[in-house]
């Protein structure tokens, strides 16, 4: 295919337009103020956790991020339902929360797989072959709905480049050969590539480790 006739780039949801841009308000819906506690059901553990976070700060609104993170853990993503539950406990409007949630990369505003595999594709990792690694992980994961494979901006582990964060655990340096085992470990619920876990890596500075 010629460069001059290259296909028009599309977003992950298949549109040429970023998600959300083309969506109108549904006029049959009512406006969404702070949810009514009487009609919004919140799982007791989630409520407890959010309230715990709120108590830590002078202004309870500071707990927004931890609260959204907690809700995402329960619901898998920041679904409208999850947002409403957080809004109900924190006494904020759902719109405020969705605005915050969509700002941050780690809060998902559309449904995703249960296991997150963030492959760092920023400069240091890409210099050492991260783009190929990401391609390999994507291909290997295929359309397995269990996985949420994402190219991520710098994860702060350039010393083990190219690397990935698998459900929060950093592993690296990865080669393309490691990919099948990585996914198998995740599927099996094992620790992923134990020998490549960052947690076990000594400091590079030889004198320091001495």
């Amino acid at each position: 295919m010629s460069a001059l006739r290259r296909p028009i780039p599309r977003y992950a949801h298949g549109s040429r337009v970023p998600p959300g841009w083309d969506e109108a308000a549904d006029l049959t819906k009512e406006p969404s103020p702070v949810p009514d506690p009487a009609t919004t059901e919140v799982p007791a553990t989630l409520r407890e956790e959010i309230e715990g976070h709120m108590a830590l700060y002078p202004d309870s609104r500071s707990a927004t991020l931890p609260a959204l993170e907690a809700a995402q853990r329960v619901h898998g993503w920041c679904s409208p339902e999850a947002i409403e539950q957080v809004a109900c406990v924190m006494r904020l409007t759902p719109a405020y929360l969705v605005s915050v949630a969509s700002f941050y990369d780690m809060l998902e505003t559309s449904p995703v797989g249960k296991h997150s595999v963030y492959v760092c594709t920023n400069i240091s990792c890409s210099l050492r072959g991260a783009d190929e690694l990401y391609g390999a992980v994507r291909t290997a994961a295929g359309d397995d709905p269990e996985f949420n494979v994402r190219a991520f901006e710098c994860l702060g582990a350039c010393d083990i480049a190219p690397m990935a964060s698998v459900d929060g655990a950093y592993v690296g340096p990865l080669s393309i050969e490691d990919v099948p085992r990585l996914l198998d470990d995740v599927r099996a619920g094992r620790e992923v590539l134990p020998e490549k876990q960052l947690a076990r890596r000594p400091c590079a500075d030889a004198e320091a480790s001495a």
């Binding site: 959300g20 969506e23 406006p31 947002i83 904020l92 759902p94 719109a95």
Partner: protein
């Protein structure tokens, strides 16, 4: 709280020495020297500047980087350049950046011709763009709410709309989603942005991204004329600019008045206008003929109305609605008292209050300003929910709480009447500070305990020593828009114009109040009723949420149903053919909507404001003063009114504390009579 007083300093801008208030933002200070610094995101009404659009970059000597004029307070001796090469290059760059993703659809854009982005591109842009990549394109326009359309292609992310939602109306419904170049303005999960003040975002938008669906494509700026007037849909009486094309109101915009509306407008005031020219309007005189209202000539209608009223004579009652101007009320009161010898005229929904109390409550030294709601230490809301009773005051109270830490206290008349609770209330208020405003609703004085509550309110004012104090006082929200003006014009059963004794009118007898009139009609003691701009049976529940108004007469509805049924003559001087009028009126005389009227009305804080006709009267509608004068003539009374200004003059002459007032003095911004020398008149009358 003392209002900010800024001292004047001198600074240099573009080689010009300019005087400006200290610490004013450079953008504002520059205006004192006739220098314009372009802005998009800066809007002082929205609170603290955010410095997001970077359009206002200026060079300040002594600071290496360019600074944003919107967020830099001006200091004495500052030397500012807005025309240097560096500044020009930065301005060109920002315009170029903004236009990268802004579509070139000015010909179809409603904002075209009155668009700040167009103006700034023309004035401060380079005129060319080096951006050759494809622009983004997508579906547009999209609905954001029943009244507002959003066009995200045009959005320049200036933050004004979301700041309004979050910091002014504080509803947190409209937010920015995603980040960076993907950011877009939206709501939660496709819920519409429906809020009492949502329409303001259309006016705030500096591009055509947010447009009013009702105004969409109706006119271009060169097709229209602007006409300043006052919205009479609620007692807040916001100042508005009516956009007129082909003798129709096409749009209602806010007309900033810091002492009335602070530059905002509620959605009812903004979007209810299509109703003003709508199908429900009465456009010609109607006469009941064989159980049905049929159009007739003015002559015929006036004859019939006069005949009916004359027949009833002193057994006529009159009810005046809040949309009526002072002049209309005043002329009708004359017609009733002098022409028919009937004192039964009322405009108060809450019923009669002894004249004494009325005068004391209206004491000029006790009256608070609207802006006091923002600067007082505490505001007591007595028997009122401002968002429903006078919506725009809600924003003012929020501003007070948010910006000046004002304390908001709510109480009901029961608490006021309870000694202990009242004591607590005083304690709470005094704890907040010395400057206290009591915002109370007319309903406080309704019912059997009304007079007692009014007395308690006056006692409270004395306890808090509100009289004559700075940023303090009482502020009444009348039940009807022009309630205060009608009372001052003498549209009360127990007072003459200027709250004088009834004897001043030549008829010493006290008349019946609204409820009394209804009662008397049922009992047959009265046989005719004149309804001026009022339908006591009006039901507003069928209207869309944003234009719904609560009829103040709702509670009296069952009584009036019977009363109108029993009345032998019902003359309705009406704008809309509402239920009660359609069912019960014998004669319907068409009246104008506020956009067609001339005359004066009085704001709850005593500000006399002027209504000016923006559009021609609908159909064969005649001016109300003219109709009343002709009616009076047929009854045998010459009101000596030959034009609208004469009616105003008569009113000013009749009310002692309006003495010497002229329409010119009222002007476009109105005047508080309490601040005129004649204010003393209220006590002596």
């Amino acid at each position: 709280m003392p209002r900010p007083q800024a001292r004047t300093i001198t600074f240099t801008i573009d080689g010009l020495e300019v005087q400006a208030p200290e610490n004013a933002m450079l953008v504002d200070a520059a205006k004192h020297g006739d220098v314009e610094i372009p802005v998009f995101c800066y809007e002082p009404k929205l609170g603290q500047p955010v410095g997001a659009c970077r359009m206002c970059l200026v060079e300040i000597e002594g600071i290496p980087k360019l600074q944003t004029g919107c967020s830099t307070p001006v200091k004495d001796g500052m030397v500012v350049h807005t025309q240097s090469e560096r500044v020009k290059e930065a301005q060109n760059a920002v315009v170029e950046f903004l236009l990268i993703n802004h579509p070139l659809d000015c010909p179809v854009c409603d904002k075209g011709g009155e668009c700040p982005l167009q103006d700034i591109t023309f004035g401060w842009g380079k005129g060319t763009s080096r951006f050759i990549e494809p622009k983004r394109h997508f579906v547009k326009p999209l609905e954001l709410s029943p009244t507002i359309a959003i066009d995200r292609e045009r959005c320049i992310l200036c933050y004004r709309c979301v700041r309004f939602s979050q910091e002014i109306s504080e509803d947190y419904q409209l937010v920015l989603q995603e980040r960076g170049a993907h950011s877009y303005v939206s709501t939660f999960d496709g819920h519409p942005y429906v809020a009492p003040f949502s329409g303001n975002i259309v006016e705030l938008c500096p591009v055509g991204a947010l447009t009013s669906r009702a105004y969409r494509f109706r006119a271009r700026p060169w097709d229209i004329e602007d006409s300043g007037s006052v919205c009479t849909l609620c007692p807040a009486q916001c100042n508005v600019t009516l956009t007129v094309r082909d003798e129709r109101v096409m749009r209602v915009l806010a007309r900033q008045h810091p002492e009335v509306d602070d530059g905002w407008l509620c959605d009812r005031g903004r979007f209810a206008y299509p109703r003003l020219g709508g199908d429900e309007r009465v456009s010609e005189p109607l006469l009941r003929d064989g159980g049905e209202l049929r159009p007739v000539s003015w002559e015929r209608a006036l004859e019939e109305a006069a005949a009916g009223l004359k027949r009833a004579g002193a057994r006529t009652g009159a009810l005046v609605g809040g949309q009526a101007t002072n002049e209309e009320g005043f002329l009708l009161a004359r017609l009733m008292r002098e022409g028919l010898d009937s004192p039964h005229i009322d405009s108060r929904v809450a019923g009669t209050l002894p004249l004494e109390l009325q005068r004391e409550l209206g004491d000029p030294s006790l009256q608070a300003h609207v802006s006091d709601l923002e600067f007082a230490h505490a505001v007591l809301l007595l028997d009122t929910e401002p968002i429903e009773d006078a919506a725009i005051l809600d924003l003012r109270l929020r501003k007070g709480v948010r910006r000046h830490g004002m304390k908001l206290v709510r109480a009901s008349s029961e608490e006021l009447l309870n000694k202990q609770a009242a004591g607590e209330l005083v304690k709470t208020l005094k704890a907040a500070g010395e400057e206290i405003v009591v915002l109370w609703h007319e309903r406080l004085t309704a019912g059997p305990k009304g007079a007692e509550a009014a007395r308690a309110l006056l006692d409270l004012a004395t306890t808090l020593s509100l009289a004559g104090a700075e940023n303090s006082g009482l502020l009444e929200i009348p039940a009807q828009s022009n309630g205060r003006g009608l009372r001052e014009a003498g549209v009360l059963p127990n007072a003459s114009p200027g709250l004088g004794a009834p004897a001043d009118t030549g008829n010493a007898a006290e008349g019946l109040d609204a409820l009394g009139i209804a009662d008397a009609l049922i009992k047959g003691e009265l046989s005719a009723v004149y309804l001026l701009g009022v339908d006591p049976l009006e039901d507003s529940s069928s209207l869309p949420v944003w234009s719904r108004s609560h009829s103040p007469w709702e509670q009296q509805r069952p009584l009036w149903e019977q009363a109108l049924e029993r009345a032998s003559t019902v003359v309705a001087h009406a704008t809309f053919l509402t239920e009660g009028i359609r069912e019960h009126a014998n004669v319907v005389l068409p009246a104008g909507a506020y956009a067609e009227k001339e005359g004066t009305i009085v704001h709850p804080d005593g500000r006399i404001q002027r209504l000016r006709p923006a559009v021609a009267r609908l159909g064969s509608t005649r001016a109300e003063w003219q109709v009343l004068a002709e009616l009076a003539e047929r009854i045998g009374l010459d009101l000596e009114v030959r034009n609208g200004m004469a009616a105003s003059q008569q009113l000013f002459d009749a009310v002692p504390f309006y003495a010497g007032l002229t329409l010119e003095e009222i002007g476009g911004k109105g005047i508080r009579w309490a601040q005129r020398e004649t204010a003393a008149g209220v006590a002596s009358s």
